[in-house]
C-alpha cells in the first residue's frame, strides 16, 4: 500500500472492522430470532389458548348428574385421547407379544377386537369415534401409518386392522349368543360400541353407577374441553379407606350433557391413572360412507364364531394383562369384566372386590399354562399369606389382584390389605 494512503487506511480499518463484526452479528441474529420466536410460540400459544374457565350458570351436582342421564346425543364424531398410566413396568412389545401370542392359539386374527382393546390399557392412544344413532358406530385406533377400526352398522360388526390387512366379522346375533365367550371381545365390541367404548361417557356412566352414600359428588367450577364449555363434576369416595380410587373428575358438556373428559386420580396421588377426553368433537352427522365397510379383496376374514373358540385363550390373555379392564371402576367388574364365569362381588361401594375361582390349583394360573410365563409373571407379584393360605398380589396404581394358591382370584380397586382381608373373610 502506498505510504500516503496509510493513515486513511488505518483509519478505515479501526472503524470498519468492528462495524463489519456488528453487521455479521446482526445477520446471525436473524436465525437466533427465528428460534426465539418459535420457542416463544410453542411456549405461549397453549397458555394463551387457555382462555380461562367459561362463565356458566350455577348448577347443582344433582342437576348435572340428571343432565348426563338425559343426554341424548345420537350423532357425533370426534377425536379421543386416552392416556392410561397404571404404573405397570413398561413391557412395550413384550406385552403385546404375550397378548397376541395367547390370543393366537385360537383365532390368530389381529383384527380381533379383544386383542386390540387390551392394547388400550396402557400408554397413550388416539381414537376417532363416530356415531349415528344406536345402530351405527365406529371407533378407530390411530396407529403409526395404520389404523384399527371397529365398525358397527346395523347387523354387522366389522373389525379391520389395516396393518396386517385382516378383517374380523360377526353379525349382531352371533355376538349375543356368544355371550360368555365374548366377555371382553365380541360383546364389548357390540354393546360397548352402542355407547362408543372408551369414550369419556362410558367411564363416566360407570363411575356414577358407583355413587352411593359413601361418595361425595360436587360441581367444581367449569372448564373448556375440545373447545366446548363444560361443567366439572367431581366424584370422591368417602369413608372408604380401602379403595385406591382418589378422585374422579368428569367434564360435562354444558349444552348436551355429554361427558367430554374423564380423569381418575389414584388415592396415592401422582399423575392420573386414566385420562380420557375428547380433543375434538362435532355433533354434526358423520359423513355418509363412514359406516360402510366392504372387506378389501384378498384380505383375510375371521368370522366371529371362529373367534369364540378362542375363548380360553382370550381369557388367559386378559388375565396376563392384569385384568385391567375389569376393575376400571369399583366393584361391579366394569367394562364387561363382570361377565367372568362365576364372579362374585364382595363388599359394596368403592371397597367392593370381585372374586372368582379359576379352578386351577397352584396359584398363578399361567404356571400350569406355561412354566416360563408363570415364573415371569410371578416375579412381578408380591407373596402374601393370611388365614386363607398363601397367594400372590399383583399391583398397579389402581387395580390390585390377589391370586391365592388354591386358585381363587380377588380383584378390585382396593389396597392390598383389603384384598387379603377379603380373602381371609371368605375363607
Amino acid at each position: 500500500m502506498a505510504p500516503y494512503e496509510s493513515d486513511g487506511s488505518r483509519d478505515v480499518e479501526e472503524t470498519d472492522v468492528p462495524h463489519s463484526r456488528r453487521r455479521k452479528a446482526a445477520r446471525y441474529a436473524v436465525p437466533a430470532a427465528v428460534v426465539g420466536v418459535a420457542a416463544a410460540t410453542i411456549g405461549l400459544v397453549p397458555a394463551l389458548a387457555d382462555s380461562g374457565d367459561p362463565d356458566l350458570p350455577k348448577i347443582t351436582a344433582q342437576q348435572l348428574v340428571q343432565k348426563i342421564a338425559e343426554s341424548d346425543v345420537e350423532q357425533l364424531s370426534g377425536t379421543v385421547r386416552i392416556n392410561t398410566d397404571l404404573g405397570l413396568p413398561d413391557l412395550g412389545g413384550l406385552e403385546s407379544g404375550l397378548t397376541s401370542g395367547a390370543a393366537g392359539d385360537g383365532s390368530g386374527s389381529s383384527a380381533d377386537p379383544s386383542a386390540k382393546l387390551t392394547e388400550l390399557a396402557s400408554g397413550t392412544h388416539t381414537l376417532r369415534v363416530a356415531a349415528d344413532g344406536p345402530d351405527r358406530q365406529k371407533v378407530s385406533v390411530i396407529e403409526s401409518a395404520a389404523e384399527y377400526s371397529l365398525i358397527h352398522n346395523g347387523e354387522d360388526v366389522w373389525g379391520y386392522d389395516s396393518k396386517s390387512d385382516a378383517v374380523y366379522h360377526e353379525t349382531a346375533d352371533t355376538a349375543e349368543t356368544a355371550g360368555t365367550a365374548a366377555q371382553d371381545g365380541a360383546r364389548h365390541g357390540r354393546q360397548g360400541l352402542g355407547q362408543a367404548p372408551a369414550t369419556p361417557k362410558d367411564f363416566a356412566e360407570q363411575a356414577l353407577k358407583a355413587v352411593d352414600d359413601t361418595t361425595s359428588v360436587t360441581v367444581d367450577g367449569t372448564a373448556q374441553v375440545a373447545g366446548r364449555d363444560a361443567y366439572k363434576l367431581v366424584v370422591k369416595p368417602q369413608h372408604a379407606s380401602g379403595t385406591t380410587v382418589g378422585v374422579i373428575s368428569v367434564a360435562v358438556d354444558a349444552k348436551t350433557g355429554l361427558p367430554l373428559k374423564f380423569t381418575l386420580t389414584p388415592a396415592s396421588g401422582g399423575a392420573a391413572v386414566l385420562d380420557v377426553g375428547f380433543t375434538r368433537i362435532s355433533f354434526a352427522e358423520p359423513a355418509a360412507g363412514t359406516f360402510d365397510f366392504t372387506p378389501p379383496k384378498g384380505a383375510k376374514i375371521t368370522e366371529g364364531k371362529d373367534a369364540g373358540g378362542a375363548k380360553g385363550a382370550d381369557g388367559k390373555a386378559r388375565e396376563h394383562s392384569g385384568d385391567v379392564p375389569q376393575g376400571f371402576g369399583p366393584g361391579a367388574g366394569l367394562l364387561g369384566g363382570g361377565g367372568a364365569d362365576g364372579a362374585k362381588v364382595l363388599g359394596k361401594g368403592w371397597n367392593s372386590i370381585a372374586t372368582y375361582d379359576t379352578g386351577q390349583k397352584g396359584g398363578i394360573p399361567s404356571s400350569s399354562a406355561g412354566g416360563d410365563l408363570g415364573g415371569f409373571l410371578g416375579s412381578f407379584g408380591d407373596k402374601v399369606s393370611g388365614t386363607f393360605g398363601k397367594g400372590t398380589v399383583f399391583s398397579t396404581r389402581l387395580i390390585n389382584a390377589l391370586i391365592t394358591d388354591d386358585g381363587k382370584v380377588y380383584v378390585g380397586a382396593v389396597t392390598k390389605d383389603a384384598l387379603v382381608k377379603a380373602a381371609d373373610a371368605a375363607h
Binding site: Y28, P31, S110, S162, S164, G289, P296, K297, G298
Partner: protein, 312 residues
C-alpha cells in the same frame, strides 16, 4: 469511491463479494427479472445432469421395483394368501399391495422416506455451496451480478426441486410397477372406507407432495452445513451424519421430550392422508416443523454465506 474504501470493502466482504456489492450498491444495470430464473434453470440442469444425481435417482427408482417384484414372488401370483399373516412387519401398507397396485406407491414412499430419499437430498444439499467451493467455481458464480442472497435462494430452490423430482421418481416408478404386477381398482383406506381409483391416484399425488415437503427441513440444514465448509464431501457427510443422528435419537424412548422437535419426527404422518376422514394433526405439525427448520437453517445459511470470505 476512494481506493481505501474499496480495499476495506474487499477485506470484509471477501474478494469476490466486493464485485457483487459494487454492482448492487450502484444499480447502473437494471436487474432483469428473468435473470434469476435463468440462473435457476442453469443450476437445475447442472444438478440434474450430474452422473451422481442420476445414479441417486436410479437407486430411488429401483426401490419400488425391488419391493414390487419381491411381494409378487412371495405371494406366488395367487392373491389368495392376502398377506394376512404378515402381522404388520415391514414398511407401512405392505400387506395391501397384493390387493391393489396403488398401495405400492405408498409402500415405496414409506420405505424410502426414512433413509434413501433424505440421503439423496443430503448429498445434493451438502454439495450445493461446498461443492462449488471445492471445485473452485464458487468465485466465478459470484462474479455474475446476482448477489449472494439470490445465489443462495437459487441453490435452495434447486435442492427443493430435487426433493420433488426424487419423490416423484419413486412414486412414478412404484405406480408403473403396481400397474404391471398387481390388480388395480377401488381401494380401501386404512380407516376401512372405500374410495375410487381416481381419488386414490389424487391422494397418491398429494402424498408425494407431502413427502417432498417433509424433506425441506433437511434441505435447509444441508445447505447451511454446505456454507460452513469448503469441502463438498465434508458437507455431504455431515448432513447425512446429522440425518442418521436424528434418526437414532428418534429411536431412544428416554428422549421423547426432544423428539417432537427433530425433523424426521412426523415424517410418517403422510400416511394420515390415507385415513378417512383425513387426520390432519400430524400432517400440519410436520409441515410446521419443516417450515421452522427451513426458516432457522435457511437464515443461518444466509447469515453465514453473505458474510464469509470466499477464497476458492
Amino acid at each position: 469511491m476512494s481506493r481505501a474504501d474499496t480495499t476495506a470493502e474487499l477485506r470484509d466482504e471477501g474478494p469476490v463479494r466486493g464485485v457483487g456489492a459494487v454492482g448492487e450498491a450502484a444499480p447502473v444495470r437494471a436487474v432483469r427479472p428473468l435473470w434469476s430464473l435463468g440462473l435457476l434453470r442453469n443450476e437445475l440442469l447442472t444438478t440434474l445432469r450430474r452422473w451422481r444425481t442420476l445414479a441417486l435417482l436410479a437407486v430411488l427408482a429401483a426401490v419400488p421395483v425391488l419391493i414390487g417384484v419381491a411381494v409378487r414372488i412371495e405371494t406366488g401370483g395367487a392373491a389368495a394368501h392376502g398377506g394376512g399373516d404378515g402381522g404388520g412387519q415391514g414398511p407401512a401398507f405392505l400387506a395391501q399391495i397384493t390387493n391393489n397396485g396403488l398401495f405400492l406407491v405408498f409402500t415405496a414412499l414409506a420405505a424410502t422416506l426414512p433413509v434413501f430419499l433424505p440421503l439423496a437430498v443430503g448429498v445434493v444439499a451438502g454439495d450445493a455451496i461446498a461443492g462449488e467451493a471445492s471445485a473452485g467455481t464458487l468465485r466465478y458464480l459470484l462474479v455474475a451480478p446476482a448477489g449472494r442472497t439470490r445465489l443462495l435462494l437459487t441453490k435452495y430452490a434447486t435442492v427443493l426441486a430435487f426433493c420433488l423430482v426424487a419423490t416423484l421418481v419413486v412414486a412414478v416408478s412404484a405406480l408403473a410397477m403396481g400397474v404391471l404386477l398387481f390388480p388395480l381398482g377401488d381401494l380401501t383406506t386404512i380407516s376401512g372406507t372405500r374410495i375410487g381409483f381416481a381419488e386414490g391416484l389424487g391422494r397418491a399425488l398429494l402424498i408425494a407432495l407431502v413427502v417432498a415437503a417433509s424433506l425441506t427441513g433437511l434441505a435447509a440444514l444441508g445447505l447451511f452445513v454446505s456454507t460452513l465448509t469448503h469441502s463438498g464431501v465434508a458437507a455431504m457427510a455431515t448432513t447425512v451424519g446429522l440425518l442418521i443422528t436424528a434418526q437414532i435419537l428418534e429411536q431412544v424412548p428416554q428422549l421423547h421430550a426432544i423428539q417432537p422437535y427433530l425433523f424426521p419426527h412426523y415424517w410418517l404422518s403422510f400416511a394420515d392422508l390415507m385415513r378417512e376422514p383425513v387426520y390432519w394433526d400430524g400432517l400440519v405439525k410436520n409441515l410446521e416443523l419443516q417450515a421452522l427448520y427451513a426458516a432457522v437453517f435457511g437464515s443461518a445459511a444466509w447469515a453465514r454465506f453473505t458474510t464469509k470470505d470466499i477464497t476458492a
